[in-house]
Amino acid sequence: MLDPIERFFLSLEPRGEVPELRRVRGAIRFELRGATTTDRWLLGFRDGRMRVSRNVRQPADAVVVTDMESFRDAVEGKVHLWSLMLRGKLLVRGRRELATLLMARIFPGPADVQGPRLRGQEAHA
């Protein structure tokens, strides 16, 4: 079974074009620290599409550093990256606004959501 982190990164390319990412071009490296190793994922964007590669040595415009456990919580929607950053568990270097964009664009929200309570149907029934 795939680890949630792998599943998350591997889900990005198949998303195809994300219109809001069209205007950014660059690459972010995620450095995820485990007990003994550091896992590195490189996420490139160009023309609204994402490209993911693992453990390659390539320059990035921004680097996000955090621990594996926190990042797993983030990809499972248990915690927001912004909260992790405020707590000192996540560090962004380089073009930090790219990370902010991604926080909103590609990270999943919480798993159990109600969403807006639309009364439309009842109202018109």
């Binding site: 809001e20 927001h80 912004w82 606004e97 639309l118 009364r119």
Partner: protein, 682 residues
Amino acid sequence: MIGELRVLDGSTFMLSRLNGDVDLTPDSPNGLISLDTRFISKWVLTVNGQRLRMLSVNQLQYFHVRIAAVPERATLYLDTNLSVVRSRKLAAGCLEEEVTLVNHCDQPLEAHVRLEIDADFADLSEPRRLIPTERPCVRGVDERNLYFCHRRESFQRLTAITSTAPAEVDSEGFSFVALVPPHEEWSTRITVRPRAIALDGVDIVSDLAGPAVPEFQKLVDLRKWIGDAPVVNSTPEALAKIYQRSLVDLAALRYQPLMLGEGYLIAAGLPWFMTARSRDSIFVALQALPFAPSLAMATLRTLAISQGTGYDDFRDEDPGRMILEFRYGELAAFEERPHSPYYGCVDATPLFVVLLDEYERWTGDHELVRLLEPEVRAALTWIDTCADLMGDGYLWYETRNPHSGLVNQGWKDAPLAISYHDGRLPGFPRTTCELQGYAYDAKRRAARLARLYWDDPEYADRLEREASELKDRFNRDFWIEDGEFYALGLDGERGERIDALASNMGHLLWSGIVPEDRAKKVAGHLMDPKLFSGWGVRTLARGEDRYNPLGLHVGTIWPFDNAIIAWGLRRYGFDREAGRIAKGILDAAEHFDGRLPEAFAGFDRDDTEYPIEYPGACSPHAMSAGTPLLLIRTMLGLEPFGPHLALRPALPAGIGRLEVLNIPGRWGKRDAFARGLLSYEE
């Protein structure tokens, strides 16, 4: 009482008493605050055991103040032989205070100088409800330094204080023995550095609050900011001075959080809202378009990168919805408050579209319009789907976070701000009238952009059709026939109109959703003594059950609200009425030394002669600092028409001459002049 003395640098500030001391009262926001966190909560200077009495305060720059003081016991009959100067600066990410003792006699003096210091690391992000919480704090002392450190799990905030002069440092402050030769001085510089420590010991203050800018650079930036803005001259001169003050206050509130991009944002208001708030940023950007269009660009970009994409009930997030604000304190970090970021507002989403269009009309920046097409489409989709909670074509709100979400999600967001005429509180979902006006305007403006820049005439047609249907529907459902005014809002639960008379309908004129024949009625209500105090339009009319001249959203007067209303009145040709509001607000500004607070009391002008302060109002407040700018635009009738800048002045009596030089825009730079009457008998 909010601190009387302030130094400010973007989202970081120090508030104190006039003598320079910080000592807390339970609800006081005094201290050194950055990242919504109080890094210094006590800062009391004594000389030979005596506190200081302020003699004069000189605000040299917004980030630099100098206090001249003497030990308390000196009186008219007891000359002091010693005076103290405290020079306080916020620069390079630090608070620097230089304390100088001056010996005025011909004998050497030995003085015991003591600075008592504490840090409570309180979170100031919860507006107007400072909860005193004991936070664990470790103190550290070495030869020249004192540290306070608050830790909760990995969250770490640290205050590091150091002195240039040798001192005895203990866990509660610094003690100096100052030996001052006759007619000479002794001084020390104490530096406080607030730090937010993340993994690997990295300080992330600049990520969140902006890079540390040294003093000389700040002065250069300030000169450039003022130099780039148009010059305003007026008779009487007061208006030009108010404008100047506004520009400097906006400069003071600028900050550059690296996490949100590269441009300057404006912190919303000192002390409660020292953060990027969408609504405030949008209104300030709109107000400042003829003067500092760069603010609009930074605001639009920032909102675009943080637009919602998924659903999050805790944060009231939906796809396409714009944020309300980011916060940086402990409550946000541990998700005890939803502001990391929080999306609980409904006005920012349509207003984002309005700002983009208005920005393009002024600057001709097609590039940004093309770039932000996906965000505008997502915003408009949100208006039609997630925000239409009743399925009837209106924008509604209802928080999904019952513990810490906002009950009201328009600009009047106090919990009791929206009520019926008889004071009852409406149920949910709930909505207010001006939100429908914003949605109408957003659709019409987006239609223009779709036609001109996105090559999508079908989308444009659809948006225009929807806007026109919304206008009809709105005028059917919100109009109260008996009183001939627009309902404050709708109560989705009871299916009733919220029948209070309030300032909100003034915004409808700005949005253009009011048919000509009704505009006269609306203008009449706005200028009626129930709403118009003589200084400005009250948030809620006298005679409404919850009216309170000192109620934040239920009776006080908000300068920004009035500027939007005046703009709307001119749009419908009510020049005289717009002028009365402009003049009233500018007269009030004079009483506040040119600096309009967030809000002031709704008492009748004839009763009080002076505008009465609202206790606890933010000041400086970004939207209030922007207000004189929009009033100038409104009085001059500045309006872009294609590549030209049109001018249709209507100055109120009392302003004899108004000129604005070097107005930037797609026309390059243009000047605008107008003449009026200094006085006349009505």
